[in-house]
Amino acid sequence: MPIPTPFHPRTAPLCTSLYWKEWAGYHAVRSFDTTFEREYFAFRHAAGLIDVTPLYKYAIRGKDAGRFLSYVLVKDVTRLGVGRVTYLCWCDARGHVLDDGTVTRWDDAHYRLTSADPSYHWLLRHARGFDVEIEDESSEICALALQGPRARAILSAAAGSDVEGLRFFGAMRAKIGKAPVEITRTGYTGDLGYEVWTANQHALELWDALVEAGAPHGLLPAALDAMDVTRIEAGFILNGVDYTSARRAVIPRQRSSPYEIGLGWSVQLDRDPFIGQAALQKEKREGSRWAIVGLECDWDELEALYGSFDLPPGIPTHAWRESIPIYSGAVQAGYATSGAFSPTLKRQLVIATMEAAYAKTGTELRMEWTVEHQRHAVRAIVTDRPFFDPERKRSTPKIAQGAGA
């Protein structure tokens, strides 16, 4: 039975659709209205405010905090600057991915790790011999993601103009009203955006302040269905949807390495030992079997396919999460794991796991597509991710740079 997040007193009355789902043990809104469209367009044109409390959060403190995390994670985070955030994954000893998330360095000896799955035990298990203290902050800290082109203007109105200088993947502390908050320039929409973290008791104050500051900028409360479309446009993968955590995998073929899920760039191999190092070195040498890629379906073929049934293109408007076979000629070369029609790009986007030989950008494949209960296939082309990558996501106004991190 899920429980409410600290923002529930605000989100529940707004959720007139009563569309909820479970997210990591919490009640989470799918969409406030019966369609998520308005929220999607707020993310891309104004700003959306979404409750991301259900993420797991761990504070790692102590003299060895950096060294310890670098041992557990695939990246050396001792080199991460104070006030910086990085995205990465971590593996078991066989080099199979357990989870992906972010690490924020608050000071020399204080980091925060976020994850999709509970990870306290895994961290604790490997802490022996390190001078660290691991605290599970998951149920003490709540968070709101403020995402969209207007996010900077809104946040600087609420938290002060220092926010304007906060660079992509930067972190800073600030006050919103009386609430002390932590702000990271991160998110899951691939747009300009921030995540704002605070202790549970300040949740409603934070919500109210951001909603008030956002009103003249078209801010809307947003939820998971809208974010799912934006994350696919941004080309982000999702644990449990696009890959299976080694923790949950039942049989070997369900496991993946960082290279196979497109996170090879986050692996730093040649350094002090870390969990999975030997296996990853071997895979790097010998090559990987699979690769997560982006695909775009050929719209003309889709339209023609529906046209042959005398139907308009009946593309689902929601993001979908089904395994769908993908072929090269007569051979199944992989499978789609999620996809969405992008209202911005006007293209059917797909995230797929392909055998490595079929993963090169531009490769032509065919994806199964069912119309009127009959299986057909449409052309799909391997495409670079992110599919949608606005400049505002990374850029910071010149005048404001220097302030913050």
Partner: protein, 532 residues
Amino acid sequence: MKKWDAIVVGGGHNGLACAAYLAKAGKDVLVLERRHVLGGAAVSEELYPGFTFSVCSYVVSLLRPWIIQDLELPKFGLEILPLEASFSPYPDGRALCRWSDPELTRREIAAFSKKDAEVYPEFGKAMSRLARWAKPVIDAPAPRPASLNPRELKGLLDFGQRFRDLEAVDQEGLAKLMTKSAVDLLDEWFESDQLKAPMAVSGIIGTFLGVRSPGTAYVLLHHYMGEIDGAFRAWGFAKGGTGMVSDSIADAARHHGATIRTEADVDRVLVERGEATGVVLSDGEEISAKAVVSGLDPHATFLKLVGPDHLDDDFLTRIRRFKMRGSSGKVNLAVDRLPEFSSRPGDGPHLRGDIAIAPSIEYLERAYDDAKYGDFSRRPYLNVVIPSLVDPSVAPPGKHVISCFVQYAPYSIKEGPEHWPERREAFGDAVVDTLAEYCPGLKESILFRQVLTPWDLEQDFGLTEGNIFHGELSLEQLAFQRPAAGFAHYKTPIPRLWMCGSGTHPGGGIMGAPGALAAKAMLQGSLLGRSL
């Protein structure tokens, strides 16, 4: 002197689309735009500091998906935000809002008629079926009924076959659609005046006809055309205003190598030995090309750019008879707060779509009566949108832009069209007064007002007689008769002179199809690409 492959006269969205397709095919193309901004009637301008207006056309309906894909317009900045609802307030303090949520819509309509509430989705389904049937017509050059060319004949046969394949009920529906008035058609389906009136107006937009005039039912179909594109959706705002549609097409054209010049006013098309050879600008500059394409309307193209000397009388007569007769105007407002409708207070989602001031059929007929006798409507039909609500980039925080499409504002007022400037502010007042009857605080919130009469649309934007569609979208001016029988395929009587504007098939609205189809016709017509 440099000889271009093609010169496009007019940097409206169709001219730019034509240029983009020609450039994409490797042609050396020059676009010449008279104004300092591109877009023609699909233009965004900051008329008041901080407020960006879609000065003329204000919503995007039928921009063709294949054009968006071919030219990769999202890459060049095109983003379309859907209109969420159609809101209609009434003088008695009630209101009706139609949503994309069918259950919500059913309950709204049921407040006026329980029967209509249930019939409404059936009507939508019937119209969508017919729109699907008509779709190939707007995505291809007009059929040629008199041609004996085997390919054309096959096209016509297919067309006939598809008509035969329609279920009897749809065949009947189609026949009615082509002949009836909007009101007659709606009367067959609905009983509630409050529902019929805001639906009927789709049939008259941009025409000098009333909702009871025969032939207006067909235009209703256009409202449902958007659905044929499935996930591409129907009606929306372009982020940054409709000028962004033009700008994204212009950037696509430049990306493919087209050259675009603004403040280059084409005075006339050069015709030598009966063929178009280039253009002369108003400052005397001559530019030569293998082909000239006019994005201007048929009157401006033939009566001004080419001139009667180069055309035979029969053709001239047909062009002169091509009905322009603009019937609408535009009022753009910058306001310091969101308008509040007394019939539905607050800033709810009902304001995030289009708002129709069309309270009854009688109201619409009276509005037409004023126009018939040479005056603007005292109480006009208004189609109002507040794009800043969904696209905050067009107004300062908390402030808004309001766009009011106004009908009727006949070009030929009884004083004569050149007297419009003296009537302009009175016309603007009538519009603001009308809207203020439903939004009591409106007048106090206005920071800036722009009033565009049909005369202004002609003088400032080059739309002959202020017709927003480059010629009325009435049945007798469509398909193989647009703009004249025998010249519906972008060709003109003058070799190497082509047309690509909304005055050609499939017509007006921000569709891009005339421009793109014209380019395709030119490329096809060029024997091995040697001549255009």
